[in-house]
């Protein structure tokens, strides 16, 4: 969508500032031996921009990126080699879930759901996490439909 391009391009134009912000978060992730290089941070911003475009979403802050770094840098399944790529995939899954759950659950809850699946049932597999996210979204939507049907029956 045209407008989302404007918003996200604008953020893109402020990427120097954004990159330095992401690099600041390295300080905390370094406690777990993980860090992003300047180039990786730049690539992550680009990937994030494309994901937002793809899902027709607008985000004017880096709150989600910060949350994903903070939560997933603690994972024992992620090492430095796959760190940057894993974060990019996490962005993709996060915004997929936001859309598929129709914005009915908070950012924190979405990250929590992802973290639980990743650590427990998926044991660090991104492929499994994607599959679990799809199942979760499907169940969530079905529950919404049931609730709405019950509400409309009550109204009648």
């Amino acid at each position: 969508m045209f407008l989302s391009q404007i918003y996200n391009t604008l953020n893109h134009s402020m990427q120097e500032l954004a990159i330095s912000q992401i690099l600041e978060w390295n300080e905390k992730s370094m406690e777990h031996g993980l860090a992003l290089s300047f180039e990786e941070a730049k690539q992550m911003l680009l990937a994030r921009y494309q994901i937002l475009e793809h899902y027709s979403r607008v985000e004017l802050s880096l709150e989600v990126t910060r949350e994903l770094i903070e939560v997933f840098s603690e994972s024992s399944f992620i090492n430095q080699e796959i760190y940057a790529q894993t974060l990019n995939e996490m962005h993709e899954i996060f915004y997929y879930l936001k859309n598929e759950t129709e914005d009915r659950i908070s950012d924190v809850q979405v990250v929590e759901v992802m973290k639980n699946f990743f650590e427990e049932e998926c044991e660090g597999s991104l492929e499994l996490l994607r599959s679990k996210a799809e199942e979760y979204a499907e169940d969530f939507r079905r529950d919404i439909q049931i609730k709405e049907a019950m509400t409309s029956e009550d109204d009648v």
Binding site: M1, L3, Y7, L10, R57, E59, L60, D107
Partner: protein, 481 residues
């Protein structure tokens, strides 16, 4: 917005002087930025700063919109909130003394403050609109024009209840069917509704200066002239009243008169035919002033509105008179014509049970017999539906009379065919004798009321009904009792 290159904006630069014609009332801030950029009063860097500040306001509102639960929203939501921000800034900037003052705000990148002030002004406009609405509701004309009534009774309250000041301010979110005489449809949100209410109040106050029975008759005449059911059509009542009141004065009728004869119409047509455009304009303006003085209209806004309406009327007269179409502009009293049959005799045309139950419930809620009769007349179009209604047990005594009074001779003949089923099929059927001699007050309640109603009609009317009875198309008559 979204400017990235100085070179994109070099063509046609006229440093230092913004052209008022380039500032659009309906996209004020955006047009102001464009004009300031064109004239070099804003640099590209300043535009980028403005954009960034707008985005900060948007970011803040996204958090408020999601109640701090999400930092992202769908593009549609973001677009809606951004449009709402620009709308509020527009409201504030248009209230400043000059475009230059608004430009100063932009230069200082004080969009956040402009937005806050805009929201405050929108909130004030909403409160004013609620007060205006109360006045309109109290003074509402007691007439059977659906669009007028539903706009006041249903659409406007929905707007007042649902209007979203911060996140969706440009959305008018109401189905306003009733057309004003002069309307600015480019306005949106509360700016539109506020203006609509102001004008509706002026129009209603003006109409209340005339006799309500005359106004009702004017509406009936209008329906007959246009050959439609005026109750369900979209048209402006004030315009009809004003035009006829002006025509009454020009045709030497009395002040406050709105019911005009065909003689007055012919007189006016021949009078206008001999005039130049300027003379017609002068005549109408003079009549408007006479009307204002005679009716004691002091309100400057009403006078201005009438003057604007007069311009529309003048153009129409100038346009129609040479084409001999003046009669289309003036509503004259119509002779009482024999109404055609307005409901179907065919049982296939009946409404669904669900719809019937809905109407019956609404009829039961109505207070007066007149309202019930009018309601029924505009919603029941099948003989079978009428029978269902009559047998539903929701009508009492003179309510039947009010409904029968709406029926034409042909329609009453159809009912005679139903009530006097066997007798009506003979060649020697004398409806006057049958009705007068009918003693039986037993049987179905509606039939008893029908016969009592018929007894009160004069001999001449009954003869007319009897003649109609011979004209009924029995091929269409699929009701068998």
């Amino acid at each position: 917005m979204g400017y990235t290159n100085d070179n994109d904006f070099q063509i046609g630069i006229d440093p230092g002087s913004m052209q008022p014609k380039n500032l659009k009332q309906h996209q004020y801030t955006i047009s102001l930025i464009n004009e300031a950029l064109r004239t070099g009063l804003l640099s590209v860097q300043e535009i980028i700063n403005i954009q960034n500040n707008v985005m900060l306001v948007l970011q803040n509102l996204i958090w408020r919109y999601t109640q701090g639960e999400s930092s992202s929203v769908t593009s549609e939501t973001a677009e809606s909130i951004l449009t709402s921000i620009i709308y509020a800034v527009d409201v504030y900037f248009k209230g400043l003394e000059s475009p230059e003052a608004a430009l100063e705000y932009l230069k200082k990148s004080n969009i956040h403050h402009a937005h806050d002030e805009g929201v405050r002004m929108i909130s004030t406009l909403l409160e004013e609109s609620k007060q205006l609405y109360k006045v309109i509701r109290t003074n509402k004309l007691d007439i059977s024009v659906d669009a007028y009534n539903t706009t006041i009774d249903e659409a406007l309250p929905i707007f007042m209840k649902k209007y979203e000041i911060i996140f969706d301010a440009p959305n008018t979110m109401a189905s306003i069917d009733y057309p004003l005489a002069i309307d600015d449809m480019k306005l949106q949100g509360i700016l539109y509704i506020h203006q609509y209410l102001q004008r509706l109040q002026l129009e209603t106050e003006f109409c209340k200066l005339f006799n309500i029975d005359d106004l009702r008759e004017l509406l009936v005449n209008y329906g007959q002239v246009c050959r439609f059911n005026y109750q369900i059509e979209l048209f402006n009542i004030y315009e009809l009243v004003l035009n006829n009141a002006v025509f009454a004065i020009v045709s030497e009728g009395s002040l406050g008169q709105i019911l005009l004869s065909s003689h007055q119409s012919r007189y006016l047509e021949s009078k206008f035919a001999t005039m130049t455009s300027d003379q017609i304009s002068h005549t109408i303006h003079t009549a408007i002033v006479q009307l204002q003085n005679g009716l004691g209209i002091q309100n400057a806004q009403t006078k201005e509105y009438m003057a604007q309406s007069a311009e529309v009327l003048i153009k129409r007269i100038i346009h129609t008179v040479p084409l001999h179409h003046f009669h289309a502009l003036i509503i004259t009293c119509q002779e009482k014509v024999t109404k055609p049959i307005s409901f179907s005799l065919n049982s296939d045309s009946r409404m669904s049970d669900l719809e019937l139950r809905k109407w019956l419930a609404e009829i039961a809620e109505l207070e007066s017999k007149e309202k019930k009769a009018e309601f029924i007349q505009t919603r029941f179009f099948s003989l079978v539906d009428y029978l269902d209604l009559f047998r539903a047990g929701i009508l009492y005594d003179d309510e039947y009379d009010a409904i029968f009074a709406f029926f034409s001779d042909m329609e009453l003949a159809v009912w005679a065919r139903v009530v006097f089923h066997e007798a009506s099929r003979t060649d020697r059927f004398d409806i006057y004798s049958i009705v007068q001699d009918y003693k039986n007050n037993e049987g179905e309640e509606w039939k008893v009321h029908y016969i009592q109603f018929m007894k009160r009609l004069d001999h001449e009317r009954l003869q007319s009904i009897e003649q109609m009875l011979q004209k009924i198309d029995y091929e269409e008559f699929t009701y068998y009792g």
